[in-house]
């Protein structure tokens, strides 16, 4: 019984000391605990990077502001971007995948549990290394110095003459080290999904989240490795005098750009694909219909992964490539929008003719659809190279990618948190607090990121610590900064909900949403071994088959 497991859990918690508890978590190889550690780590850095963003926005609220010096601002913008990508988004998504995928495919753990633990600790160390730069960069004089080269660290700005001291090294090494963790996790996901599915779960019967994590892991393997190579080259340039990006010796700054963006573009698909998975699990349940076009959704995801490897130089439309290269990357970037658009239509079709239930997971998913549509369309605008010659490196681009990352990824993560919170904790979250979170965050998000497009259209470049008065950018920057307040309040409501519900939430039971995938068949929270009996499945919705024996899915698939 659900109440028994909570009672048992509480009793078990009381009997152990703090040291025993800590030890249990530090040495664990249980995918659920590792997943939760990833998530807590990411949530901590979400707050830190959010504060960095707040510093940026306060500095930019009016022109010629003196809230922080240009040096501090440049460190803030570098650390904000680097932290959010590598120490918030990636661990968050890997953590959620870590927790959910083995249970969803009917396995007892990941393929390589010890590799799983190693990957987490290595990634965690990478983050600590990056943040140590505040203390260690050039020594404590001036409170250390974090890297200030921007998150994509263009050469030759990162070479020793232009970036003396160690701040750039902390950037390079922190990410390099965490990259090993990412590759380890990706190997684990692929081996788990290919080799550990329960009986009857063919690849064509896996939940879409499992498919999307598989595709994400494959992209990590192909994309993070080039970054690892490029950063090794950068370290060699800085310390043994090699000339990979040394323009004085005939080296090329553009080669760094190519190597970085061959990582950088697939990386953003690494970030969004698990979110596609969350949405593909949530929308069907809250529309009371199966996902529309499962095979097409799988095909579209694989297509996106493939095509995303061929679009990287749309980040380089302004570096002076010839017209043929610019044309190629225009069309490849436009093409990747096709399978993405198809997915949006399939989600819409899933809702069509259903019975929509507007609980928090669904509210955030619907907002995701609307916002991801807009983000995709601004992406189409940026894909047209000549349009990018104006919009590139401006606040329009900043608005576009935050629209994807906050409006898309973060919203879907909120939805996923609410959806699986009952499973992970055994308790229901508070629905009214979740709706307050939703309203505050929607207001804040749109205030900040809708209006952020406008300064870009009016000529405001990115990465500037201040701007001239009289260029027509003041009002928009003011509105953008005000939105931060609402988002902060929304996050507060979110964290308060997670915390309060942990103690006071109504017991959830195994299956509070009347859902259909395997994780809802086991106890909430799941025991260490996941399932009392390893299940066997015959369709994509095993629990639908159990609940509707007269009309099972395997008759129609």
């Amino acid at each position: 019984m659900a109440t028994d497991s909570i009672a048992l859990g509480a009793a078990a918690r009381e009997r152990r000391s703090i040291t025993e508890l800590l030890h249990e978590w530090v040495v664990t190889v249980d995918h659920k605990k590792i997943g939760l550690m990833y998530i807590f780590y990411a949530l901590f850095f979400l707050i830190v990077a959010g504060l960095e963003a707040t510093v940026i926005r306060i500095q930019l609220i009016v022109p010629n502001n003196h809230f922080v010096s240009p040096q501090v601002f440049n460190r803030m913008m570098t650390m904000h971007g680097t932290t959010m990508i590598f120490f918030v988004a990636m661990p968050l998504l890997f953590g959620m995948g870590n927790y959910l995928v083995p249970i969803m495919i009917g396995a007892r753990d990941m393929a390589f549990p010890r590799l799983n633990a190693w990957s987490f600790w290595v990634m965690a160390f990478g983050g600590l290394l990056l943040y140590f730069s505040f203390l260690g960069g050039s020594g404590l004089y001036g409170a250390g110095s974090a890297p200030d080269v921007g998150w994509f660290a263009y050469a030759p700005l990162t070479s020793l003459p232009f970036s003396p001291g160690h701040s750039t090294d902390f950037w390079t090494l922190g990410i390099l080290v965490s990259g090993f963790g990412s590759i380890g996790t990706a190997v684990n996901f692929i081996a788990t999904i290919v080799c550990m599915r329960c009986k009857g779960m063919t690849m064509g019967r896996m939940p879409l989240l499992a498919w999307l994590m598989l595709v994400t892991a494959a992209l990590v393997i192909l994309a993070v490795s080039p970054l690892t190579a490029a950063q090794a080259m950068l370290m060699l340039d800085r310390y043994v005098g090699s000339h990979f990006f040394d323009t004085q010796a005939g080296g090329s700054a553009v080669v760094w750009m190519h190597f970085f963006w061959i990582f950088g573009h697939p990386e953003v698909y690494v970030l969004i694909m698990p979110c596609f998975g969350f949405i593909s699990e949530i929308i069907p349940v809250f529309s009371r219909k199966p996902i529309f076009g499962y095979p097409v959704m799988v095909g579209a995801s694989v297509c996106i992964a493939f095509v995303s490897l061929s679009v990287w130089a749309h980040h380089m439309f302004t570096v002076g490539m010839d017209s043929y290269a610019n044309s190629f990357f225009t069309i490849s970037t436009l093409i990747v929008g096709i399978p993405t658009g198809i997915k949006i239509f399939n989600w819409l079709a899933t809702m069509w003719g259903g019975k929509l239930i507007f609980k928090a997971p669904m509210l955030f998913s619907i907002a995701f659809l609307f916002q991801f549509l807009i983000a995709g369309l601004t992406g189409v605008m940026l894909a047209a190279a000549p349009f990018d010659w104006q919009l590139g490196n401006s606040y329009f681009v900043v608005a576009h990618f935050h629209y994807v990352i906050v409006g898309g990824i973060l919203f879907s993560v909120f939805g996923a948190f609410y959806y699986w919170y009952p499973k992970v904790t055994g308790r229901m979250y508070n629905e009214w607090l979740a709706r307050l979170h939703f309203v505050l965050f929607v207001i804040g998000f749109h205030l900040t990121f809708d209006f952020m497009h406008i300064p870009g259209l009016l000529g405001m470049p990115r990465r500037i610590y201040t701007y001239e008065a009289g260029r027509g950018w003041e009002t928009w920057n003011l509105i953008v900064t005000i939105g931060v307040l609402f988002q902060a309040l929304g996050i507060l409501a979110f964290v308060a909900n997670l915390a309060w519900s942990w103690f006071k939430g109504r017991p959830a039971g195994n299956d509070p949403w009347d859902a259909w995938t395997l994780e809802w068949s086991t106890v909430s929270p799941p025991p260490a071994y996941n399932f009392a009996e390893v299940p066997a499945v015959h369709s994509r919705r095993p629990l639908w088959d159990l609940k509707h024996p007269e009309d099972p899915d395997w008759k129609y698939e």
Partner: protein, 343 residues
Amino acid sequence: MTLAGITVWGAAHQAGVGAWPAVLVGPSAVPSIFRPSSTPADSVYTLSIFVLTVCGIIFVVVSALLAYAVVKFRRRADDDGREPPQVYGSNQVELAWTVTPVLIVLILFFAAARVIHAVQQAPEPPNAIEVTVIGHQFWWEYRYPKYGVVAANELHVPVSDRAHPTPTFMTLLSADTDHSFWVPQLAGKTDLIPNRINHMWIEPHETGMYVGQCAQYCGVQHAKMLLRVYVDTREQFDQWIAGQASPAHASGAVSEGKRIFETTACINCHAIEGTVANGRFGPDLTHLMSRDTIAAGAALNNAQTLRLWIQDPDAIKPGSLMPAMKLTDHELDAVVAYLESLR
């Protein structure tokens, strides 16, 4: 959109008419991309209106469907609890919403490809003005090889008559890190990358001053590497060139300042034509007073700001590579007086 429609539009565009003439024209303090005043910016503007329209239509259609679904298919309060019809998919529907995006992509691609080629492969007419732009941390160097002129931070070009065009073709180089030349009303941005030669061109239609700034993060003072392009009439431009090409002016009363300048570290970085100062690290000062601003637009050019700049550059542009010169008050006054004579 038929193929014929695209062709007609393309032909009109190539004739220089532009199917979507800009509503607002002329230089503005607000450097909006929707206020193009030069041929490459016009081409990009036309394309951008087209792309915005297509994207706008897609947005309206899909959002409307989403809104409709959210309203029409919500679970009612009096719901009977039965599951709705379980629909797994439809190949015809999938085909329909695959083919349409493919067509849209092709249309957008051809529209973009035309502009890419028109801008990047525009031939340079023999009477074009040629400027070499060299990006520095954190200022702009301009050389006019045909005129033997070296200037800094404020670019002067002649306005171009549509009947007899005199565009300005720019060669872009960098002395240190990556930079990017962005004056939205005149053209899309192109980067300045060390050990690489890039090219861009502008063809301004209206006289006036156009603003922009560096658009590729280049270090601490990236934010104040501002751009001013003065589009002059032909006569004004010729006059300006003549002034820049002439030797340094300096009258006798400033000889003390000149002496201090030439015996201090100033000459390591700065050049003044006809004197011993021939440093190239910082801007050429031969005709300093012909400029409206100093420090790449960070401050207006007058005696007070000049004095402050030499005494304490961090007060104007913290982190710039100009060192505080540690002159006495008297020396400072003398040097400023000398610099003020460099017209």
